[in-house]
Subunit: 292 residues, 2 copies
């Protein structure tokens, strides 16, 4: 796919996603402080990689992709809650996220915990009231999200990462598979689920997401060494400061770069039957050289 | 309903609930510590009031109540996560819950936050894979849970309670409505939703739950003054120690007692058409004199 065509579609998806997210929690109930804390993190930018994947898979499976926006954004809310909680003092204790003060630095720990807590049911509400989907599609999507983010997905990965000090390569791979892979694979599968796509498409989405999730995380480890703090949005070297063993420690930068490319090829190969005009391929390849 | 018949049915429900909860997170994955922390709080007893209500409303709406067990227990998981997070140092900072050390006292803050986080998707997973329900019933139940526990339900109440220092009676009522009422009403509505019951039954369940939720919370305020710490499972006077204004401060014990009875009568009246053999009435009345 031509870069201009890729960029145009990405921007079209991104605009729809930002518009939709911006419409959430805009009212002012008595507890407007909760809404404000939720909005602060939900609207703090980011690439919106996950919902973009949801929209493209939905489109490829024959759905008007606009109908998948609430579903993709639901996963983005869950991703956002996980970032808020990951940054807490009792977790990674980070002050900066995407170049801005973390949620608890702005709103305090109490509200940060609660904003994260509220984003989870808010996400399911978006899926379960998504216009134009059947009950079966809604139920399917809600289950995909629950599996991706639950005690055998993202949270399991976070437990291993934070408390188990993974150091061998298979341990790191398991952490990334659960913590990052499950949610990226979930985002892809949500598009298939929203569209009522085939089992083959679901399997392709899952494989694409998991391979890309691992590549994404290894690239993250690399950026923690070679990145630019302003662009990356957080301090360089924080993994080392936190005593974390990364892929770069185990393989070195060069082999990490090669592995990112290999995983990206595998991801692309998984969707070869589905990726008719090459958006998923271009997306995967764009991530190999990302700097933020 | 005769007390022995009431007790027998309550015990039958309770046994099914405990059996089901006991079957959860029993495997030993690499992240068995997460499972253990989740189980610690999920299995720490309690009256299981909420899932009992789910089962009775499901039965009254014509469902084999056994099919509603996963749905009722899902709400109990969400209730449990809220207790774990409420007890955290950055919330109420409590050391004891139901007479046992709180989750973070046993497992540390990091794992307590994550165990709470994981219980939410785990709850949706139970609903969305509940055997014997249609997709429409599953989607309906998942939405009821999301509404009850979300940023316009339980978490909103927790924000007001923890951060807004409610002191006038209408402020306290709003807190209890959101923090306690929404989840008890949600438990009742889940039974109707699982059974595919009528709109009238759903409205009755909602009213019953909200009235009873408020009565429950006022009784809680009373027990914080007149209770027995061993029976109540937490220190007496903790509301005062935390500087919280309660219904007892505003109305005095006698008028609180009267209000509990009035609200209970209203709850009973809301289900007069539905409560064929009087279980809901007996349940409501049993709560007015509870000591734990």
């Amino acid at each position: 796919m031509e870069k201009t065509a890729f960029d145009a579609r990405y921007q079209e998806y991104l605009a729809a996603i930002e518009d939709y997210l911006n419409s959430l929690f805009a009212e002012k109930p008595h507890w407007a402080d909760l809404y404000e804390a939720m909005r602060y993190s939900v609207l703090s930018g980011g690439k919106r990689l996950r919902p973009v994947m949801t929209l493209e898979f939905a489109r490829l499976c024959g759905l008007d992709w606009h109908k998948a926006v609430p579903v993709g954004c639901a996963l983005e809310l869950v991703h956002t809650y996980s970032l808020i909680h990951d940054d807490l003092p009792c977790m990674d204790d980070d002050d900066l996220r995407r170049g801005k003060p973390t949620n608890h630095k702005v709103y305090g720990e109490t509200l940060a915990v609660l904003a994260g807590d509220a984003l989870q049911p808010a996400a399911y509400r978006l899926i379960l009231t998504a216009p134009g989907l059947t009950d079966a599609q809604r139920a399917d999507c809600a289950l995909i999200l629950a599996n991706a983010s639950g005690p055998d997905g993202m949270v399991a990965g976070q437990v291993l990462d934070t408390l188990h000090h993974p150091s061998a390569q298979d341990e790191l791979t398991e952490v990334h598979h659960l913590k990052t892979g499950a949610m990226i694979a979930g985002a892809c599968m949500l598009g298939v689920g929203a569209a009522g796509g085939s089992e083959a498409a679901r399997k392709a989405a899952e494989d694409y997401g998991y391979q890309l999730g691992l590549a994404f995380q290894i690239r993250d480890d690399m950026l923690d060494v070679i990145g630019n703090a302003d662009e990356f949005g957080k301090p360089i070297g924080s993994d080392k400061d936190e005593g974390k063993v990364t892929y770069v420690d185990l393989l070195g930068l060069d082999d990490c770069g090669k592995l990112v490319h290999e995983l990206t090829e595998q991801a692309v190969s998984a969707v070869s039957d589905l990726d008719r005009d090459g958006f998923l391929t271009a997306l995967a390849e764009s991530l190999t050289e990302r700097t933020k």
